[in-house]
Structure formats: C-alpha cells, structure tokens
Amino acid sequence: MRILVTVKHTPDLQSNRSFTEGTVTRTAEDGSMNELDENAVEAALQLVEAAGEGEVYALTVGGPDAVAAVRKALQLGAHHAIHVSDAAIAGSDVFGTAKVIAAAVRKVHDEAPLDLVITGMAALDGLTSMLPTALAAELDWSQLTLASGLTVADGEATIVRHLPDARETVSAPLPAVVSVTDEANKPRYPNFKLIMAARKAEVATWSLADLGVDASAVGAGAARTTVVDASERPPRENRVKITDTGEGGNALADFLIEKGLA
C-alpha cells in the first residue's frame, strides 16, 4: 500500500489570523499543519498498518515555512516528506495548486505506483473544500471525497459520506483521490521517538522545474480570482452579559422581543 497525503501549512486556529497583500499570512511561529490534515495522515497510517506493508508520503505546497506541515506529518509517522516550493507558485488559486500537487503526485507515482492520495476535507484557512475535487480531475483518478469511512480491498476503495440529505456509499477502482472528514478517525499523538526522528529526517524539496510545470500555468498570474480587499471585521457593539439571579430568562425574552426576534 503506497499512499501520498497532502498537508497544508495554515495559520493556527487559536492565533490571530490575518491577510497580507491578498493572501493568508503564514509564518513559521503561529502556523502548522492544517488540523484537518491530521485525519488524512491518520487514515493513511491505519491503512498501511492494516496491510502490514507500505509507505506514506507527506506532501505540502507552500513557501519556505510550509516545511513545518510535512515535519508534523513525519512526527505522526509518515515515512517520507516532500516540500514543493517555488516563488512562481505564490498566489495560485485552487486550480494552480491542483496542477502543482498533481505533478508531484505523478512524479512519485512514476517511481512506483501509488494506490491513494488522501487529503483533508478542507483547509481551515479558506475552508473551500475544492482542492480534492480539482486534484482528482487534474490527475484523472477516481474521486472519493468527504469520506467519514474508508475501506480498501481488491484494488477498490469504498467510502461512506454523509451529506445533508443522504448517507452515500461510493466505490471506485484505485488509484483514487480520497478526502477524509474529521469523523473518519481519531488522529494519534506524535511520540517522543518520532518527534526526535522528524527533526533530522530529510525533506525532499522540489521546484516547478523539478516537476516540469510551466511557471506561467500557476501563481497569481494564472489565478482566475484575485483578492481585492481584506479587512478585519469590527467587533460586535453594545454587547450585554448578565448573570441569572432569577430573572435571566425574562431579561433574555425582553431582549428578543425588543429586537423583533421573538
């Protein structure tokens, strides 16, 4: 079983997240691996462990600091780490990013075939959930997205996905792009040995030239959308907090009535 997991470097949920010149501010200090990608790493490790053989590659696309994301994946137990970094990638939209990831996936796949690419269900900066679909389309592999359950047998992957109107079971032949939700599993904690090993582990660093991707096909120039403005929302005004000493429910009712909400 050979699996590549995509992990994104995103600002920490608890940090003060912000925008700089139309893109998400990402620094080494307050950023790490997208939390939802822990479920992707976990899903890959569990499949390899169950198969009793195999390898997990962690791949990130991003600036120099993004290496933190693949180091985290190594700490969790991924065997290899790849960091695709190139100034020309900056400002890519989802389709540009999918092109770069697809090229890197093909490079690994050409060395020895991969069975699966597993991604998180969404990156917690943009929360768009578009990349897995764009990647499956770009690779022309099977698309099995938003999996809350995943099984692999006899060259086929089967997922369960919960949509608001139905629970679907979908299957497709390998190789497949699978995105997993945070319900798919409980991510493990890194152990001390892996943390130490991850520090020294080698991370392959690839440029667009290494991948044979034309710089004009990616980056801000090729992006189909541009962030033209980003501003912090003003805090809510006139906020009230009361303590219930027997009249709390009445006060709440009055508030709602006065606001025309009840």
Partner: protein
Amino acid sequence: MSVAVLIEHREGHVSRPSLEALTLARTLGEPVAVWLGDAPTADAVAQLGEYGATEVRVAAVGADARLPAKAAAAVAAATEDATVVVVISTFANKEIVTRLAVLTGAGVVVDAAGAELVEGKVETTQTVFAATWNVRTRIDAERAIVGVRPNTTQASPAASPVEPNVVDIAVELPETRETVVSVEPIPQADGVALDEAPVVVSGGRGTGGDYSLIQDFAELLGGAVGASRDATDEGWISHEHMVGQTGTTVTPALYVACGISGAVHHRGGMQASGTIVAINMDPDAPIFEISDFGVVGSLFDVIPQAIERIAAHRAG
C-alpha cells in the same frame, strides 16, 4: 448577461436559498433556472418565474447526478451561454462547481455572502477565519461561478413576474470510475432545514442530552435545532444537526447557543450570524466573547422562563 442559477429542490419544492440566489442573480443579469432531475411542477415553474427566471432548463438526470462529474456535465450543458453561474454553497455543490470550472475555465468563489458587477467583472464578498475577516474577491476569468451561502440575500419576488419557458436539455453523461453503491436518505426533521433557518437554537454538552427545552425554544422562535460536536458525538442528536466548521455553517438572523462553550471549531460555523445569544453557567465560557446578549446561568432555568415570557407577550 445570462446568469444561470442551479435550483435546489426536494420533493418538487424549490428551496428558499434558491429563491435568494435568484434574487441575487437578478442584480447581475437575466436569470435562468437550471433544474436537475424530474421535470418541475407547474407550481414550481411559476414560482421560479415569480423570482425572475426567464427560462427553466431541465436536465432529466437521475440518481447518477449524485456523482459530481456527472452533475457538472449536466450543469455545463445547461449553462453554455451563461457568463455567471450561481449555486448554493453546499458541500455537494462545491464539488460540482469545481468540476464545472475544470470543464469551462471559469473562476470560482464559494461561501460568498454577496456578489455584484464591478466594471463588468463579478466581485464577491465572503467572511473567513471564523467570520473575523471580510474578504472581497474579483473573478477575473471570462466566466464566473459563485457559491452563495443561504440567508445572505433577502429573497424577494421580481417587480413583475415572468412566465418562464421550460426547455429540456439533452445531456450525455460521461462515464465515471465511481459507482454509487447505495444511498440511504436521511429523514428530514420537521420544519426548516438547519442551513436555511432564520433562527437556530443550539444545545451542547450543557444540555446533558435532554433536547426537549432546545426543541421547544426553537419551535417558539420558528427556528431549527442545532448542536455542538460533543453532543452529536455523544449520540444525543443526529449528525445533521452539528453546527461548526466541519458541520453545517449557519448564518441565521438569530443564533442561540445553550450549554455550548464556544470552541473555535464551533464558532467557525456560526460566528457570522446576525444576533448571537448565549446561555452558559460558566462566566468565562468563550462563547460570551462573541455574544450580543449573554446570560450566565443554567439553561434549565433560563429557557423555560424566556419561553413563558415570550408566550405571554404574544398572547398580549
């Protein structure tokens, strides 16, 4: 400019967000409705016309359209002339529009709270980082796809209703590797759907598993019942009720959080709501950082009293 709106419908009824999307589409150009599935009823067609759709394009795809690549092919066939395609920003539609954009080269923004034309280009607004930032995005590509969140445009009928032409669209669905093995429909809770509801009353771990007060309060306020992840994990209430970054994102006019601490994961799915009310025993609960009206107290005391007062007020 022709603006195509992908209509959401269930058991023949047009969803309210679809009417919101048509209302928004009218500000961008001339709306046409795209309908996947069995032909709409005369009532549905009339309603779409009332909200300004000049045409209803029907692609009679069946259950196959659950696969995003197939649905995208159907939408592509029905929107060849459209410069803008508007859909409701659901998980399923995000996948469909991603495929559609791969087919047509369109630029996409999902989770938009609004869209307008600026110098001939579509510009959208959306909130990010658990609704702490506003972002404005311009779609530079010739074709634009906008996924809008429910409750972000006030649905209103067109100044004068039109009688839409109903047009059948022939689609040849592509072969896909994926096979839908089974579909188990989820029975819909009575009343309004969570993501469309103008009011959401949510209960968390603080309910201890008893949702009867939450349900009563939601019913009184004409809203839907939501929950935190801990509550759905406990099995107290089904997964479809979960509000949050990985559950349903809601933007109702009123959000009432009862016995919910306000973890960042939860806030990500409700922080853009109009008015936020919190009831929590812990004065330091983070939910109070974003509530317009907070009551430090037990939901078992506060909710019954509030219900009684509101009912009495209504009775005059």
